[in-house]
Amino acid sequence: MRYHPHTEEDVRLALETIGVSSMRELFEDLPQELRDPEVDLPPGMDEATLLDHIRELADKNSTRGPDFLGGGVRRHFIPSVTPHLALQSEFVTAYTPYQPEVSQGILQATFEYQTVMCELTGLDVSNASMYDGATATAEAALLAVRQTGRDRVVVSRGVHPETRAVLRTYLSPLGVTLDTVDLDPVTTPKLTLEDDVAGVVVQQPNFLGYIEEMRSLTQSAHDAGALMIAVVDPLSLALLAPPGAYGADVAVGDGQTLGNPASFGGPSFGFMVVRSELLRQFPGRIVGETTDVDGKRAFVLTLQAREQHIRRSRAKSNICTNHQLAALMATVNVGALGPQGLRDLAAGSVERAHALAARLEAAGMAPATGSRFFSEFVLPVPVDPQRVRSELAGRGIHAGVPVPPDYGLGDAVLLSATERVSDADIETLVEALQQIGAAREVAHG
């Protein structure tokens, strides 16, 4: 395929205007000896052949069947109207809104996004989006370090393992220490912290699906003069107390559950919302409201002095391109569902997850239902969790995110539910688990 429009006549005319005799001549600044390398790529394809090839690849994946996968990414109902509106090509093919006069579409939608995130988290200021929940959390930790001038960050093991990994990546080069602590609503409802702690990072609900004591933990952080960074699932905030309510200083998380497809893990978007006091240290783009020369309301990128293109090496972050379109998807989706619709999604998921847990117990399995959980929980299994997931996949069931060893729970998988799980799906899963021996042995052991 070719996407350039040039005819031979065009090329002739252009070369003549430029005053060169061939296109090769335009590349004479390139080192002679390095020019025109052998590039090992197949020849191009026409669109029909190309799509056949891509479909062939797509057919090697399977996505249908009962779905109990979670671990931070869930396939909730997304109304058809959401992608229809968010993916209008005027939004999809626009650049960052540097010219506000012709970018009010993106700018206003982003202002609406910022408002939605403030309402969900109960905090004051949202930026226009970050890459994902993990990098947003890392940026939040860096913000805490800048704000407090301290160089230790405490993270709960309940924070998503991949998020903790990204924290490590971002903090180590700056010589910031990262301590991982184990929390337990019963044994460790609060923390005693040294006064060199810049920030405490806790996820609610935690990676395993359980509810943390955010109030007391926030208290612990503040007692030590540290910032409290809450990592939250935005959809859960339709039901759960917003970070602002328990005094968190920063709320971060991944926006996938607000209306972006799973897309094999990306792109979704990260969000970051803070108390106004932290605005000066806040990374990322922000849209603000103002008026134009005629007194009309207008929206613009603002407070850019924090950003790399102005502040360069002293910027609050190097982030430039963010995840605007995914944030727009969430904004439209929230508008499509409204507060009641969001609440129904969250409540339906909680109910389905508890129905699943009850059914598993009834079937002689031992889901960890000791502490409160939201829409996901741990099921110990007698065999390698990877194998459990594969055996289920072999039966057309998508379930069983393996619980990483560092949780010390032995062989176990995560089971998650959304409002879309049917009773039949639950039966199918339970039966399959029994067939692959997950049940019996647990019952015995």
Binding site: V39, A94, D132, G175, V293
Partner: protein
């Protein structure tokens, strides 16, 4: 004309749009604990599906885009984003990152092929597809360089990253995020890195040099192999900012020029859409000596099976969750396989042809080209004496065309950075020139005209000072009693 309403102003209590399945009876408080729950509902929009559709359809009409407008933003490569890419991406959108790998072999194969394709295109030995954007790729790259020096016991010694004064802001910002000091080298009269200054800046304390080639002036760094030699001789590594790769696709490869690490902007060179600011995608590629430091996960092939390598002992670790912006990997792969070897080579040819054609036409109508020689995919111009770049840019908006990048790079006063890309026709470039001519002519007749421009846009010259002085960063709901409007 009244203000265009924000979605919250269209909201009415109790109004509903799309409805999910109604949840069954369930004691939420019992399960979650009353004091873990929120006491009042968030004030989110309550609108009908039709009002939602009208709102965002009308907002789309208040937005310039590649699909509706010529959009020659320098350094942004605003080329046509093929619709077939979107079609392809849709076929993968329901995949879950944690589903059993054997049920996602097609996706993993695509990633594996893309890793290799990008290697072939750049002349690098290995790629990670993780980074989410250019700046994120830069960070991954510089962290690998850091890990490399540390592995050789030179971590303490090498504290500095060199960047040219013409560099994009993300370069110095990235170096700082990776814990490095930034040393700037100036641009020579040729518009290229000043070799003498470069040699002077180089030393045993230098960890890396970050270069864009062609640079942000749209000029190819002709001394690139020398620069590489100088850097390598001092034990520093050479970093390639791939934002401008469109200029040299298939013509010369960063790997062959001596670069040790590169990041690419799939949302520029490889047609994944910008989405009004993102998501982008910024894969990083390295030479063999840096392979072990690549961020995880990497896709590898074991027999006929594609597997994700999660723990490589020397890896800098994870840059983000999951496997990168997979949806965009599908788009980029679709684009690369559509064009193939020769098609990609045509891209740089016609991109450079368009840029040089437009540069000549800019000169014809009175613009100045500060560094005037054959440019690559873009060029930097200055408006005729007495005119402000900002005013000319604003006046262009009334002609339905998007301005060029303005006031960047910083090394040129009143800079206008123009990148037409290969997908534009000469007719479009000529129309841009006609629009600029019209603007200049109007400015002749009526000096006030430029100050007032634009005149036909939804809003005109918003007050940015006010926005920053009295920040209003979210919609404020009218206090009860107060009127919504």
């Amino acid at each position: 004309m009244a203000d265009f309403p924000v979605i919250f102003e269209r909201s009415r209590p109790g109004r509903r749009g799309a409805r999910p399945p109604a949840p069954r009876q369930f004691d939420l408080e019992g399960a979650l604990g009353a004091d873990n729950m929120r006491s009042e509902a968030p004030r989110l929009p309550e609108v009908s599906e039709l009002d939602l559709v009208r709102h965002y359809t009308q907002l789309a009409h208040r937005q310039f885009s590649i699909d509706a407008n010529f959009y020659p933003l320098g350094s942004c490569t605003m080329k046509y984003n093929p619709k077939v890419n979107e079609e392809a991406a849709r076929l993968f959108q329901d995949l879950h990152p944690y589903q059993a790998p054997e049920t996602a072999q097609g996706a993993l194969q695509l990633m594996y092929e893309l890793q290799n394709d990008l290697g072939a295109i750049t002349g690098m030995d290995a790629f990670s597809l993780q980074p989410a954007a250019g700046a994120h790729g830069e960070l991954a790259g510089v962290l690998m360089i850091r890990a490399y020096h540390e592995s050789r016991g030179e971590g303490e010694q090498r504290r500095v990253v060199i960047v040219p004064d013409s560099a994009h802001g993300t370069n110095p910002a990235t170096a700082a995020m990776a814990g490095y000091e930034v040393r700037e080298v100036r641009t020579a009269a040729s518009g290229e890195v000043d070799l003498a200054a470069f040699e002077a800046a180089m030393g045993p304390d230098v960890a890396a040099v970050m270069l864009t080639n062609p640079n942000t002036l749209g000029l190819f760094e002709r001394r690139i192999t020398q620069l590489a030699a100088v850097a390598h001789a001092a034990g520093a590594l050479l970093y390639y900012d791939g934002a401008n790769l469109n200029a040299i696709l298939g013509r010369v490869r960063p790997g062959d020029m001596g670069f040790d690490v590169v990041h690419l902007n799939l949302h520029k060179t490889f047609t994944t859409p910008h989405g009004g600011g993102g998501p982008g995608t910024g894969p990083v590629g390295v030479k063999a000596k840096l392979r072990e430091f690549l961020p995880v996960p990497i896709v590898d092939k074991r027999g006929d099976e594609y597997v994700l390598l999660e723990d490589l002992p020397q890896s800098i670790g994870r840059m983000r969750s999951h496997f990168g912006n997979f949806g965009n990997l599908v788009r980029a792969y679709t684009y690369i396989r559509a064009l193939g070897r020769d098609g990609l080579r045509d891209v740089s040819g016609y991109a450079v042809l368009n840029a040089n054609y437009l540069k000549e036409r800019f000169k014809e109508i009175g613009f100045t080209i500060p560094f005037d020689r054959t440019c690559m995919h873009e060029f930097v111009a200055q408006p005729p004496a007495g005119l402000k770049t900002l005013d000319v840019a604003k006046a262009l908006l009334d002609h339905g065309m998007h301005p060029m990048t303005v006031y960047f790079p910083l090394v040129v006063k009143e800079a206008m950075m123009v990148e037409p890309t290969e997908t534009e026709s000469l007719e479009t470039l000529d129309a841009y020139i006609e629009a600029l001519e019209a603007v200049l002519a109007r400015a002749e007749e009526d000096p006030e005209y430029l100050k007032g421009a634009p005149y036909d846009t939804p809003v005109r010259r918003p007050d940015e000072v006010k926005a920053a002085r009295q920040p209003v960063l979210r919609y404020r709901f009218p206090a009860v009693g107060e009127d919504a409007a």
